[in-house]
Symmetry: C2
């Protein structure tokens, strides 16, 4: 029997349901001031005493009675015998009402001479100047900042009542192993509650992770019962789909009510909104990106009803590089890499697969395609929500095209110089076209032309008249990756794993097949495409294929054999105008650095002598 969701409601309905279904009364905890940063005040906080507590001197000088200084001048200095020496912060003695700066005093034997009159209360910090006893320092529902902590301490507050929302997190699933263990085939590391706890702690929640509960009805029920008793909000990770071993909805129904099962968002549809003993119990989907979307779009709005808020990083208007289709009736959230190219923000969609957790690592922004929309066209200006501070987003360098492990290592090196290199893997031709549309800062490519040269003929043909420079990252070896040292000529006898059309490696393979007179149809697996060098090596390593074409470093990383075929120029093409951009300058300098050459040598398969050079090209 295939079970279906009980119902699917819209995101707006889900948020409305959350608003209506729970009391959302936060608890209160008292924390010492040292631990209060980022917490939210539960009640207004008042000054225990005035600061200053008495009139004090604002300067190093002498305390005087101002009426005794009347008439003092250069011609008629006034000598005071009962002035009192005070330092900054000292109490003004009773009867005194002003301070003269020490620089303006001529000191004699127990006397002080001044040459200017002073007005009453000059250089005196009156009692309560900073704050008066009983005054409100902070309202309730205020997120405590470091500066607030300093002020609270000064005004006599040593511990503060903060909101306490206890969130329990129960991972369920017989396929899960705890973080730190290597999962056997078909099992995965339980990472969702770890991610959720880190996220919700940033919003100020008190998170508690429970042990993994296997998919056994009674065990899940017992865990949920305990989790509800010990927390204000309970999140049950996974088991929220409609599979045969997805018990979460049944358990919630058993112990309380399922208010909704299924919300029309993508990723994240199989979410459960439940209530047990009046408390929210939310069933999270299992795919990490689906869980993350539900946390952001449903759980954080729920926590905001308790007064907790996750500070966000604001939004920007960006030009979308790729058309995104979306289902009418579903709010879809798409992760993005955004970067500023010239004056405009450009947004490149990440993989939309809910299983590709790396998308969340790579993305620095996201966007929503509303339920009423069928999608967004490439070139449209969209509102993107940032996932990093704006100044970090400003550091993003969009590098679209051919991928190579050396590019990741370059990203690592330039990070030390404040550049956030986002590499988007489209293959060389994809990069060429992205560069033409100004959808990226730079395009890494290795496109072999019929004349035996690299890249320039393609740039001249596809970007005629444009002022382009080419930065050589490395001359690198491409070859046959296999378990047992298969050579190019032996390919027809083995199962192959290919790269996607438009990739430079595919074009190189086809060039060599023509040169050797080998028909593609004679190679089993020629039609099976993957998109990176490492994916080729993985297919070989797992036995799915016997051989594929790729770079040496990919073979070396997985301990595979490599038989060289050709050496090619792996270059980064970009518009010359960008050379003035400090991010690009940092990149150019890093490519020719000793540190990068050392890394290339350690990866193997790269010629480093020719690297770092800039070739100029006027189309």
């Amino acid at each position: 029997m295939v079970r279906r969701y009980l119902s699917t409601i819209s995101l707006a309905e889900a948020l409305d349901l959350i608003g209506r279904s729970y009391a959302c009364v936060p608890g209160t905890a008292t924390v010492p001031l040292e631990e209060a940063a980022g917490r939210t005040t539960a009640a207004p906080i008042f000054a225990r005493f005035s600061v200053p507590g008495t009139h004090v001197s604002a300067m190093d000088g002498i305390a005087v009675r101002s009426e005794e200084t009347v008439g003092a001048s250069e011609q008629h200095p006034v000598t005071l015998s009962d002035a009192v020496r005070v330092n900054t912060g000292n109490v003004i003695p009773p009867g005194y009402d002003a301070v003269v700066m020490i620089e303006d005093v001529w000191m004699g034997d127990g006397t002080f001479t001044i040459r200017r009159p002073v007005s009453p209360w000059q250089h005196v910090r009156p009692v309560g100047e900073d704050i008066g006893e009983s005054e409100m320092i902070l309202p309730s529902r205020h997120r405590i900042r470091p500066h607030d902590i300093g002020a609270l301490a000064s005004y006599g507050v040593a511990d503060v009542a903060v909101l306490s929302v206890r969130v329990g997190l129960i991972p369920t699933g017989s396929e899960l192993v705890p973080p730190g263990e290597r999962p056997p085939p078909g099992k995965v590391v339980e990472s969702n509650t770890l991610m959720a706890a880190a996220l919700l702690r940033e919003a100020g929640a008190d998170c508690r992770r429970y042990p993994i509960t296997p998919d056994e009805y009674e065990l899940v029920r017992d865990a949920v019962r305990l989790g509800v008793a010990e927390n204000d909000v309970l999140l049950v990770s996974a088991g929220s789909s409609a599979g045969t071993r997805d018990f979460t909805a049944d358990v919630i129904r058993d112990l309380g009510e399922v208010l909704a099962h299924g919300v029309a968002i993508k990723p994240g549809k199989p979410v459960i909104i439940g209530r047990i003993d009046g408390k929210p119990v939310i069933g999270l989907p299992g795919y990490p990106l689906a869980a993350a979307t539900v946390l952001r779009e449903i759980v954080l709005p729920l926590l905001s009803r308790y007064g907790l808020v996750l500070p966000d990083f604001g939004s920007a208007a960006a030009r979308l590089t790729t058309t995104l289709h979306s289902e009418i009736g579903t709010d879809e959230f798409v992760l993005l890499s955004v970067g500023r190219i010239g004056d405009a923000w450009v947004a490149v969609p990440q993989s939309r697969g809910a299983g590709v957790q790396m998308s969340a690592v790579r993305a620095n922004a996201y966007m929503r395609i509303p339920a009423a929309s069928e999608g967004v066209e490439a070139g449209e200006i969209v509102t993107v929500r940032l996932r990093v501070p704006l100044d970090t987003a400003e550091e993003a360098l969009l590098v679209t095209g051919s991928h190579d492990p050396a590019l990741d290592r370059l990203a690592d090196l330039v990070r030390r110089r404040g550049v956030d290199l986002h590499s988007i893997h489209t293959g060389s031709m994809g990069g060429l076209l992205a560069l033409k549309r100004r959808d990226c800062h730079a395009a890494p490519m290795h496109l072999l032309a019929p004349d035996g040269t690299y890249n320039v003929p393609y740039l001249q043909r596809y970007l005629p008249g444009e002022d382009i420079v080419l930065l050589c990252i490395a001359e690198r070896q491409q070859g046959i990756i296999s378990r047992e040292g298969i050579t190019f000529g032996e390919l027809p006898d083995h199962t192959f794993i290919n790269r996607q059309k438009g990739s430079g490696t595919r074009m190189l393979l086809d060039h060599w097949l023509r040169k050797h007179g080998i028909a593609p149809s004679s190679i089993a697996g020629y039609d099976r495409e993957v998109t990176t060098h490492l994916a080729v090596a993985l297919a070989v390593k797992t036995g799915e294929a016997d051989a594929g074409m790729g770079v040496y470093s990919a073979a070396q990383a997985l301990g595979l054999s490599f038989v060289p075929v050709a050496t090619e120029r792996y270059e980064l093409a970009m518009h010359r105008a960008l050379l003035g951009d400090p991010r690009v300058s940092a990149l150019v300098e890093t490519v020719s650095s000793d540190a990068f050459r050392r890394i290339l040598r350690s990866l193997g398969g790269y010629e480093t002598d020719g690297t770092g050079g800039l070739r100029e090209l006027r189309g």
Copy 2:
């Protein structure tokens, strides 16, 4: 002898000096993943294994050999006998290369019938789809986010190497008492290292606070020697001025070198930049706002050289409400309350006194007046740096005018509704003028006109023709605050403490003096002005004055006597157009709420029956 600073350098020179004087090599610490959020990676992190580790099903369904499905159609269904039932995430058995969704399968007795062919690798998540073994997950110098933690766990990483910069914080000063103690007169709570530790921890530093060291040369020297040995960076709080007991510079010179003493910034000038054993030793000024400025402008840039970064909240362009004069040659930093009025950001300067720590609590932004500038005129557009997330700044409601303790309580209540009420104390007339200039959202006022009515005649005169509404916060009693029940008629026999010109209370006093035929000159202290009700009450409580005029709640807060004089309308004036603003709606609703009326009753001295009403006024 008056000691002077050794030298005063510009902020730019100080930053350059910092860049040249230290190696700034961060240490590395290994932390478990659970504690890694907000830390910065010390090295690139690579995947320990591929995810998925084998080809797995992306759907609940059956694993098939795709070539066996060729030709399947509605007319010619294909029945497979060796298909294998798989759930999402299950391993695809060897020899199988595609998955058919369970919804598209007709199940018989051990057989599966399908009516459509499937292409190879359909609904299969290939090995390494998410990430391949050995691929880089994160570069170095990456600030770890919750999503990164989830991904790291999934890819086999259980602990991470993060930057570790140990920052020692030594509070010095015989005038200091630890947080939680009530300081006797002339002493203050040591709050600067608490604030600094909270701030630098947000940037990812490992902070250690040392006990308070009294101003004794040998004790300070021993503390600094230990602090340098145990940390990468040492901050010595206070003792950095040129007073007789300011030893910090001498101690640094004794143990190492003073590179600079005095930087031309305000607040924060008496900073020391030193070096001991090659490590940075920074002497912070004692005034909290000066210390905070040095932390932000000098210490954080220093820590950024170790790879630590404090995420900032970006900037905005805002219209300055008040002219700010500034000394040429000094970079001055001014704390601001900024709010959006209509489409424009408006910036109101906070008190510039370095001793007013509450300014840092009240401010949600700051600006820099560059060294080359003499100041900024009111009305100029300036760049403000936000100190809160943009969405929090959007919540700010600027309320400028007359202050009343009830206004703080109103701020507390509306905070629960997402409004951040910034009250700026200028007195009623100041509020009226701010409203006229559209420098605030609303102006609280209680201006008695000669005809005995409140506020309306002033609005008609100063804002003629403008569409204004008045929201009555309360009818409140003003009276004589004293220790021993002094009445209005007895004022000439006692010392008085007055409110500033332009305040409604001052105008009320003058009205009553005229009415009773009392000459201001007959009242001792008539010229001594303070700016809040509580400041009046404090002056009375400390014995500086015998009596003053103010509201009942101020007298009650300090346990003083109160003899009523008059009842007045304390109203909030605003432009009618703002009634549509959700922040203003929340305010209007809150004023008429039971919760607010209960608070007014508990404060005492307010009539609550007339509150919450809106009066409309067309000039």
